[in-house]
Symmetry: C2
Subunit: 339 residues, 2 copies
């Protein structure tokens, strides 16, 4: 009995110690979903450097601007952009009011689930779909449509609401930066008013820190009440060279850290890197077909229509010291629901 | 002697008490440059109402958005808009590189100081002047040009830098609101990049909280360094119906308080007032020719080209409960330098 008790005692003590150690480790670690690789170390070192008063690379809080692309950087951009899934669902929902869509492209392609015909409609077709599904209502009505859609829509592979698909390591990174006085912005090619209804809840980013593409709106007084009507006209495309333009227009400060995942983020990272002082530029690389997706075409991975990471971007990253995040190697888990 | 001592004692005590009382009053009073009128009371009551937890009209900090017009609301818009004075100075500075301007309107009018010919050039002429003086350089170069101009330029009447002409009561109001958890924005018809170099210093409003008119910019890599070049093309006019559009685009939340002074602010106040819950809409009325300027044409004051306050706006203000601030009656002092 004595031996048993001793063994029990040691076993209990060991379990207790293990729990304690793990709790302490988690408490100390602002990025628990990141593997302990150099990539994680680069982030922590950068933040220490710019937040340590007296350090040569100290950056005052007002200048601690960090910008994040959304699709493919904070949540999946596959099997298609979330906003495109929304547009297709909207076109289907609106189809009864548009009998002409049965025979008119690109709408016919959507109603027939004919992805090949949809692809053939190209960018022009895409803009037509966006305008038909995103314009013609007030901003308040659009917000409700988007919110309702996020409540009901499910990702075809993960069978969960899109709002549960934020990359957990990136959510931790956003929180880590904010805890250190950073102001975190989303700078996305996606529509501002498509993102705003969910960014606070999903990423902790308030509406006024969402930079993105916009369509024109018009102020009108209807039945004595002012409304902003969404017009079927592009106002601004916040992608590629548009990203530095959007950052300058909406924020008016150059970021000291920028995070992207595709050719659409190249100029944002260039613009960020061209400032003086400590900088952090990172690109999420989708190399994890098992847990998420794998595409490039960089590093010999398959090409893609959504969020291309070309070899030229990989080369530029290496040349300029941008850190490429391997989802497979650097992320302990990808989604919060994994455990 | 005894009598003297007693009198001295009382005199000293009285002075001491007076100083103490005045110090206490000032310490308690967040708006010392406002006269103790109902207007001041309306502001203080509104702020108490929306910031008292448990109150029916409590507004959480994230929703405490206050928007301020700039010209005529936070600083003078007479004798002309500050940005127009800048444009005219720039045209004169650039004239040696443009010999053709000597004979070409509206430039000739500027070089001849011919305000009548300038007026005849109308809005089209104005846009030409703005484009010639505000475009063709990088955003960084423009910022330097603006900063240098603010250092050197003096207001023709007050003989001081424009940055010293902020209305002290409005600066106190901005600070009062921020101390109570409000996020204060400028929403001006003026150019964003003309205002940003001075708003933090003058109003405590950081660059990312300046909404205004914009011209297009283009991302380019010059000598290996990325720059944003300012193009001679209007991107967005943040005036009249443009103000709610700009508020929605840049902030994405409806203000609960809005401050203006002219017909250009009407829609911003309508949009703010159309939200539910406690609201505060105010208009600065320039009725103080002695200390600043007096114009309307509302209330029979002279008409003006800069910051018109028409009778119809006065009527709408009365009908909708917008508070009209009389500079003459409501403001103890107008500028910080007054004493």
């Amino acid at each position: 009995m004595k031996t048993m008790n001793t063994r029990r005692f040691f076993a209990a003590a060991f379990v207790g110690l293990a729990v304690l150690t793990s709790t302490l480790a988690r408490a100390d670690d602002p990025l628990p979903s990141w593997n302990d690789t150099n990539t994680k170390n680069v982030i922590v070192t950068f933040v220490e450097k710019v937040t340590t008063e007296g350090s040569a690379q100290f950056v005052p809080p007002a200048e601690r601007i960090a910008t994040f692309d959304n699709d493919g950087t904070l949540w999946p951009s596959h099997q298609m952009y979330t906003q495109l899934a929304f547009a297709l669902d909207r076109v289907k929902a609106l189809a009864p009011q548009h009998p002409e869509w049965k025979t008119k492209q690109p709408f016919k392609a959507v109603l027939d689930n004919d992805l090949e015909a949809l692809g053939a409609a190209g960018e022009k077709g895409l803009v037509e779909l966006i305008m038909a599904s995103h314009a013609g209502m007030s901003t308040a009505d659009f917000e409700k449509i988007v919110t309702d859609w996020f409540d009901k829509a499910r990702h075809p592979r993960f069978k969960r609401p899109y709002t549960e698909l934020a990359y957990q390591p990136m959510v931790e990174l956003l929180e880590f930066l904010r805890a250190d006085g950073f102001k975190t912005y989303i700078v996305s090619g996606g529509g501002v008013e498509f993102m705003r209804p969910m960014t606070e809840k999903v990423y902790g980013v308030p509406p006024e820190q969402v930079v993105g593409s916009t369509i024109k709106t018009k102020y009108e007084v209807r039945d004595g009440k002012p409304v902003l009507m969404r017009l079927p006209e592009v106002d601004f495309i916040d992608d590629k060279t548009g990203k530095p333009v959007g950052i300058n227009k909406f924020i008016g400060k150059r970021p000291i850290a920028a995070f992207g995942n595709s050719a659409g983020d190249r100029e944002m990272l260039e613009w960020t890197g061209a400032g003086s002082g400590a900088r952090l530029m990172m690109l999420v690389f989708h190399d994890d077909a098992k847990r998420e997706y794998a595409y490039g075409p960089a590093n010999g991975l398959p090409d893609t229509k959504f969020g291309t990471f070309p070899e030229s971007l990989m080369k530029e990253a290496k040349k300029k010291g941008w850190v490429v995040i391997s989802m497979k190697d650097n992320w302990k888990r990808i989604f919060a629901f994994e455990r």
